[in-house]
């Protein structure tokens, strides 16, 4: 196209100029050129992004495979399995994750449904309240809890703070709230909530049955997203757990091991990354399966 606006040789060679104008007017080849360029750019961006993520990951994998004697092997990984503290910390963190995810969903799903159906005026307030855990820094929450831990009566300390499961789960439920609220709210917005609830109620279902049998299966992807986000928070949160001196959870254990044996620490990080990747992959698989089933719409 630059030849059209150019001067000199193009003006002399009038025939070639005309030919170019005609070519520019035809829809064939220029369209192909326009399509090719973005594809090339996409590939370049993909490669750059891929390298950006892959190089540190592969470097970490390589580092985790270096054994004490300098040779390559799975010693760091087998050390994780044989290390009872790491195993226990992993179990505790998984327990905290599972309970936190269950509690936060059990709290947020009925709340979102109630607010959307009966108390729409509270939507703005709920959005404000659920964003608070993001606004208030974890260090402030930790300081508050540490103060409570120090000043609370002994029975409360025994009941609440003696074990990471009881000590951290309520806090993680609060930390996961902003993400779960938004994930569930998006899922609920995507369905005709009022009609489905009314239909279920008219057929004799109680509120609990309506929630479990009608709403939950129809916001399954959103709820799974919320669950995975909660698990990711629970498996990675380190500020609160270390300030409150809960050493028996995975992130704190990783830091401690990292100080003694960096290889094992990196190996745990990689396993954690793979675990989260598998979670996200299964979520996108479920979502994709649902989209696929919708696409076979007959009419």
């Amino acid at each position: 196209m630059s030849a059209i606006g150019g001067v000199g040789p193009d003006l002399v060679g009038g025939g070639s100029l005309l030919q170019e104008i005609e070519e520019a007017g035809t829809p064939g080849p220029p369209v192909t050129r326009r399509r090719r360029r973005p594809r090339a750019w996409r590939l370049v961006i993909l490669v750059i992004a891929g390298l950006f993520y892959a190089i540190p990951f592969l470097a970490a994998v390589k580092y985790s495979l270096i054994q004490n004697d300098g040779s390559f092997g799975f010693a760091n990984y087998s050390a994780i399995i044989s290390n009872g503290d790491v195993r226990n910390a992993l179990y505790t963190s998984l327990e905290i994750s599972a309970i936190s995810a269950f509690v936060v969903i059990a709290l947020m799903l009925p709340t979102v449904v109630l607010v959307r159906l009966r108390l729409p005026k509270l939507t703005l307030m709920l959005e404000g309240v659920t964003i608070l855990p993001l606004v208030v820094p974890p260090i402030v929450i930790a300081a508050g809890l540490a103060h409570l831990q120090g000043s609370a009566p002994e029975w409360l300390v025994k009941l609440w703070f003696n074990h990471p499961l009881t000590g951290l789960t309520p806090t993680y439920v609060v930390l996961a709230m902003p993400f779960t609220y938004r994930a569930i709210d998006t899922g609920v917005r995507a369905i005709d909530l009022r009609t489905l609830v009314d239909a279920s109620r008219s057929l004799g279902a109680s509120w609990a049955a309506t929630l479990v049998r009608v709403i939950l299966p129809n916001v399954e992807t959103a709820v799974l997203g919320a669950v995975f986000l909660t698990i990711a928070i629970c498996m990675g949160e380190v500020v609160l757990s270390s300030i409150m001196l809960y050493n028996g959870v995975l992130p704190v254990e990783m830091i401690q091991i990292g100080a003694q044996s960096p290889g094992i620490s990196v190996a745990i990080s990689i396993l954690g990354l793979v675990f989260v990747f598998l979670l996200l992959f299964s979520l996108s698989f479920i979502a994709g399966r649902r989209r696929g089933s919708n696409s076979v719409r007959v009419i």
Partner: protein, 356 residues
């Protein structure tokens, strides 16, 4: 029997229902007809237990249902929006109510199949809602509502989202099904042809009140109020004058007034006359001239401009009328009694006839 007794519903400053009294007999289909915001859906939702009246009560077979939650009322409901559960196939959608009632699995699935046969969708039992057309989805919704053998069937504009052909077909199917099962039904619609063709009785609603409750033919032929007359069917507003003996002088004819109360003899009024209640004859010395001719298939709708400037709609069989635009015609009202506009409403000679 269903009874609405002085039902009122207030939403802030808006009064959705202003004292609704209504009785629906066993096995009867009553259609509530009215414009948007007239309170018809509110009445249905109050009967279904999805809304609660500000005052008054609802009884079913003498039992006060006002405080009973929706899931304890034994009422099947079909909604305007597609309401099938997307996560269940058609068979399980229909069987849902029985599952909630802890019915044995084999029994409830057999019952679901029975009902699917009733609505002609046996071969679609394993499909999911998104694999069905709108009409099929509403058929399944009807089967699902009937599966629980409800005392009352509530239909909230179930045909309004469907195309005209499917709507006409489902209209007949629903009516046949309702008559076969003898189920008491409350049907809410803003479509007058739906109400007139399906219901045993039609209730015309306006501003939260029931203007008239009668058989479709009575509502059409002998509307109780000017609103009922104008909302159901097309209507001409012809200038007239109230006579001494409860009659009205319109287009040179003397007709009986159906709603004479409140009208002073000698006062001007508007007589409401249906287009098909007027006949025309070709007459060079007639009172008006045909300005527009619309062919509707079985009938022809003519717009006649009277010499006084009044427009009159006339509808006649397309076989009988051969006049076109520009022909001078004489008019004659066929009916002997008419409804006149409410007192205080000034006649407007330029008013365009209401066409529904």
């Amino acid at each position: 029997m269903i009874r609405f007794e002085g039902i009122q519903r207030q939403y802030g400053s808006v009064r959705a229902l202003a004292g609704l009294d209504l009785e629906i007999a066993e096995g009867e289909l009553v259609a509530l007809l009215g414009p948007s915001g007239c309170g018809k859906t509110t009445a249905l939702r109050i009967l279904g237990g999805f809304d609660h009246p500000t005052a008054g009560r609802v009884t079913v077979d003498g039992k006060d249902m006002t405080g009973v939650p929706a899931n304890k009322r034994d009422m099947g409901m079909v909604f305007q929006a597609y309401s099938l559960f997307p996560n269940m196939d058609v068979r399980n959608n229909v069987a849902f109510g029985l599952r909630i009632r802890h019915e044995d699995k084999a029994k409830r699935l057999a019952r679901a199949d029975q009902l699917l046969e009733l609505v002609g969708l046996t071969e679609h039992a394993d499909r999911y809602p998104h694999q069905l057309s709108g009409g099929q989805q509403q058929r399944v919704a009807i089967a699902r509502a009937l599966a629980i053998e409800p005392k009352v069937l509530l239909l909230d504009e179930p045909l309004s989202a469907l195309d005209a052909r499917v709507r006409a077909q489902l209209r007949v199917e629903i009516r046949n099904l309702q008559q076969r099962l003898g189920i008491t039904t409350l049907f809410v619609t803003h479509d007058q042809s739906e109400a007139l063709s399906m219901a045993d009785r039609v209730g015309v609603m306006n501003s939260g009140r029931l203007e008239q409750l009668d058989t479709p033919e009575q509502v059409y032929r002998h509307p109780a109020t000017a609103f009922a007359a104008e909302f159901v069917g097309a209507m001409n507003r012809l200038p007239g004058r109230i006579g001494d003996a409860g009659d009205v002088q319109v287009l040179g004819q003397r007709l009986t007034v159906l709603n004479a109360e409140g009208h002073q003899p000698g006062s001007a009024c508007e007589a409401l006359v249906r287009p098909e209640a007027i006949t025309i004859v070709r007459d060079a010395a007639g009172a008006g001239e045909v300005t527009q001719r619309t062919f509707l298939g079985a009938s022809v709708r003519l717009e006649v401009l009277l010499d006084g400037g009044q427009k009159v709609l006339v509808e006649a069989s397309s076989h009988d009328v051969g006049v076109g635009a520009g022909t001078r015609v004489g008019l004659r009202i066929l009916t002997e009694s008419v409804v006149v506009s409410d007192p205080g409403v000034a006649p407007d000679p330029e008013a365009v006839p209401a066409v529904a």
